[in-house]
Every structure is written in structure tokens, then in C-alpha cells.
């Protein structure tokens, strides 16, 4: 299991692995937003949490098809399926690797980009906390979408269409957490829901994703 994780991380950081592309995309998005909505603090501040969450979500989406597609092309997926690892475990590890290579850099960069968008200082820790709790669910749901579309030639667009609706609850509770924390100082309810969704997704989605992978392997 650990071997698979280190291999995926190593592949992501080597040439052609696409590590850091997500953060670059995130930066571009945050740069473009003021051009679209105006640079006034009064315009940026209220939408900053939403933009940051959307940016993280889209940056995460960009790299989803890599989770299984490359391994499927070169035959590694067949070999992993015959390995003494349960396929559910393989799915979970690959989603974890995706989160470490995409989600964590985004979380680290988010406060910085928050400054660009005039996110109030008191919202910063909540931004990081909400992303930290919410993004694992994004990676895991993305792995499910990637497992469903792995055999398809033009799977990228379909992957977005399938996965984005699944992101809605996480997005809602993630941004609501920041909003309520700043407005009233009590983000308990969205925090609990966000954590609940992530826990449920991490516990159950590997089974659905592994089932989809088995269908696509045969």
C-alpha cells in the first residue's frame, strides 16, 4: 500500500507528472477574477471565499483523469488488479496520492491567494480548515468519476459532468463554514456536515469506484 503511494507521489513529482499545475491554474483563476468583477475591496471581499473554493475545486478537477487513465493505458491497472491489494485499497491510495499532490498544495497556496482577493484576515484560518476538511472528499469523488470514465477516449468532459454535481454539498458546506465563522463566529453546524460528508465519502466511495474499475477492466 505504502509502495503504491510512494510510487504515485514520485511519478507526480518527476518530469511530466503535472505536479504544481493545479496551483498554477489556481493562481491564474485568482488573477483573472478581479479583471472580471473589479478590483474594489468591496467587490472582492464578499466573494473571496466562494472564488477560492471554486478555484480549488476546478484545479482539483483538472488532474482527475490522471488518477487511473495513465495506469490503464500502460497496463499497470491490470497488474494492480491482480496484485495482492484489494482494488478498494488501490482506489483509496490513489485518491490519497491525488489529494497530496493536488489538494495539499492548493490548501497551502489558498491563504496567499486569499490576500490577492482581499479575504479578511479573520477568515484565513477558516478557509484553511474548510479546505483541509473538504478537499479529501473532492479527491475521492474525483477518483470515482475517473474510475467510471477510465476506458473512454473522450472521458475528460464527461468526467466533469459526472463529478461536478457530486461536489455541490461539499462546496456548499465549505463556503458556508467560512461565511458563518466570519459572520457569527460559530461555524459548528457546517463544520460537522462537511466533516460528515468527507467521512462518508472516504468510507464508502472506494467500493463504488472499485466496482466501476472492475467493470472497465473486463
Amino acid at each position: 500500500m505504502l509502495a503504491l503511494l510512494t510510487r504515485d507521489l514520485r511519478l507526480a513529482t518527476r518530469a511530466g507528472g503535472g505536479f504544481g499545475l493545479g496551483v498554477a491554474f489556481f493562481l491564474i483563476l485568482c488573477t483573472l477574477v478581479p479583471f472580471g468583477v473589479g478590483a474594489d475591496t468591496s467587490a472582492l471581499r464578499p466573494i473571496a471565499p466562494g472564488i477560492l473554493w471554486l478555484g480549488a475545486l476546478l484545479a482539483c478537477l483538472l488532474s482527475l483523469d490522471r488518477i487511473f487513465a495513465l495506469d490503464h493505458e500502460d497496463g499497470s491497472l491490470d497488474l494492480l488488479a491482480t496484485a495482492p491489494l484489494p482494488l478498494e485499497g488501490t482506489v483509496a491510495i490513489k485518491a490519497l496520492a491525488h489529494w497530496i499532490t493536488t489538494g495539499l498544495p492548493l490548501i497551502a497556496a489558498a491563504p496567499l491567494f486569499g490576500l490577492l482577493l482581499h479575504l479578511p484576515a479573520e477568515a484565513m484560518p477558516w478557509l484553511v480548515i474548510s479546505l483541509l476538511i473538504g478537499t479529501p472528499a473532492l479527491s475521492m469523488l474525483g477518483a470515482f468519476g475517473a474510475a467510471i470514465t477510465v476506458g473512454l477516449r473522450r472521458g475528460g468532459l464527461l468526467l466533469s459532468l459526472l463529478v461536478l454535481p457530486l461536489y455541490i454539498p461539499t462546496l456548499i458546506f465549505g463556503t458556508e463554514l467560512i461565511r458563518r465563522a466570519v459572520a457569527s463566529g460559530d461555524p459548528t453546524t457546517p463544520l460537522v456536515f462537511l466533516a460528515g460528508i468527507t467521512a462518508g465519502v472516504v468510507a464508502l466511495i472506494p467500493f463504488a469506484a472499485a466496482a466501476a474499475l472492475r467493470v472497465n477492466l473486463r
Binding site: 518527476r14 497496463g75 488488479a81 495482492p84 491489494l85 477492466l217 473486463r218
Partner: protein, 208 residues
């Protein structure tokens, strides 16, 4: 004792049975070569025994985690070196890398990234993975594709060593690997007859 026993197996592709009623056993030290024209279902049968797709009917008896599967794709990562590629599979399966590198004459290439290898060298790395798995039953689908004569001979020797060490091999190949006493099984007579089956293999049979 037998490593693999197949009873009355039917496998299907594209929602239709390809072959049915296939039975054989494979004991330690034995090799079985599948024959038959293109499209008869050799690959499908091998994938089914490797556990990559469900059998449509019949029974496959073997120990858990006994199969090492090698097919057209080698499962190599171009960004990793040959040794790193093999080491990964060694960690997954719990095997040994050094001997495998030596056996397939890959020691000189061990630190080269897999992306820079020729097709034949990639193939050799892919086959070295079989040794790394330490599994007794090798399921091989055209293992000698893109190998030159010397490499074929080398792989033949590796395969004989595997059989002598109590392993077994089930393969589809057109090339003589110099395996003495290897049995052959022609799948042509087992080609599935169209018609209604009790349990349809897929939509094409359910609506045929």
C-alpha cells in the same frame, strides 16, 4: 498437486460466449500452450483465469494470489528507472529484484529511465516482473512480442527454470520457447455454439 484446475469453463467477450466447456488441469512443473485462430478467445480465457473478468460459467480452482499475469502492455512507468519499476512491483508482491534483473539481462539498464528503453528492452523488463512477483502460476499472453531471438532464448531459459522450480505456465504464443513436454490445447473445438444459454453472458446473448 495441481496449481490450476479449470472445469467446464465458459468465457465471453462483447456479451457473447467465446469458448465454452473448457476443462484442464495444470500441475507444478507443467506448461500449457493455448492454440487457435485469432479471435477464438485466447486472451479472454487468460484474462478470466487471471481474475480480470468474471467467468460466464464453470469453475476455476486455484490457490488465492497464485497468478502473475503478463500481456501486451508491460505496465512500465517511463519516468521511473528499470530498477525502480521492478522494485515497486517487488514491494507490492513481496519479491526480489536483483535476481530478476540478472535473469533477463537487465543489470546494465537498471538505472535507465524506462522511457528511454527500446520496445524489446521494455518487454524484457515486463517479463522480469514475473520473477519479481514470486507467484507460481504465470499467465502469459504473447510474451515474446518484440523480443529478438537471443531474448526469446533467454526468456525460454527463465521459463524452464520457473517450471523446474515448481512453477507452472499457461500461455498463448506462436513461438517455440523450447519447452520440453509442454502440452498444447487447441481452443477451436471449444468455440461456443450460438443459442440460448441458461445464464446469458451479456446483452448480446440475452437478446439474441
Amino acid at each position: 498437486m495441481s496449481l490450476l484446475a479449470v472445469h467446464d469453463l465458459a468465457v465471453s467477450r462483447g456479451g457473447l460466449r467465446a469458448v465454452e466447456g473448457v476443462s484442464f488441469t495444470l500441475n507444478a512443473g507443467e506448461a500449457l500452450i493455448l492454440r487457435g485462430p485469432n479471435g477464438v478467445g485466447k486472451t479472454t480465457l487468460l484474462r478470466t483465469i487471471a481474475g480480470l473478468q468474471p467467468a460466464t460459467a464453470g469453475l476455476i480452482e486455484m490457490a488465492e494470489d497464485a497468478v502473475a499475469y503478463a500481456a501486451h502492455a508491460d505496465g512500465l512507468k517511463g519516468a521511473l528507472t528499470v530498477a525502480e519499476n521492478l522494485r515497486f512491483w517487488a514491494q507490492i508482491f513481496g519479491g526480489e529484484v536483483g535476481a530478476a534483473l540478472a535473469a533477463m539481462d537487465l543489470e546494465a539498464l537498471a538505472d535507465r529511465p524506462a522511457a528511454s528503453l527500446s520496445a524489446g528492452q521494455k518487454r524484457r523488463t515486463g517479463l522480469a516482473r514475473l520473477l519479481v512477483t514470486g507467484r507460481p502460476l504465470w499467465v502469459l499472453d504473447e510474451p515474446t512480442v518484440s523480443l529478438d531471438a537471443a531474448s526469446v532464448a533467454r526468456f525460454g531459459a527463465v521459463l524452464r527454470g520457473h517450471l523446474a522450480g515448481g512453477g507452472a505456465a499457461l500461455m498463448a504464443t506462436h513461438i517455440d520457447l523450447g519447452l520440453e513436454g509442454a502440452r498444447e490445447l487447441d481452443l477451436t473445438p471449444y468455440r461456443a455454439r450460438p443459442g440460448r444459454a441458461e445464464k446469458p453472458a451479456g446483452f448480446n446473448e440475452a437478446f439474441g
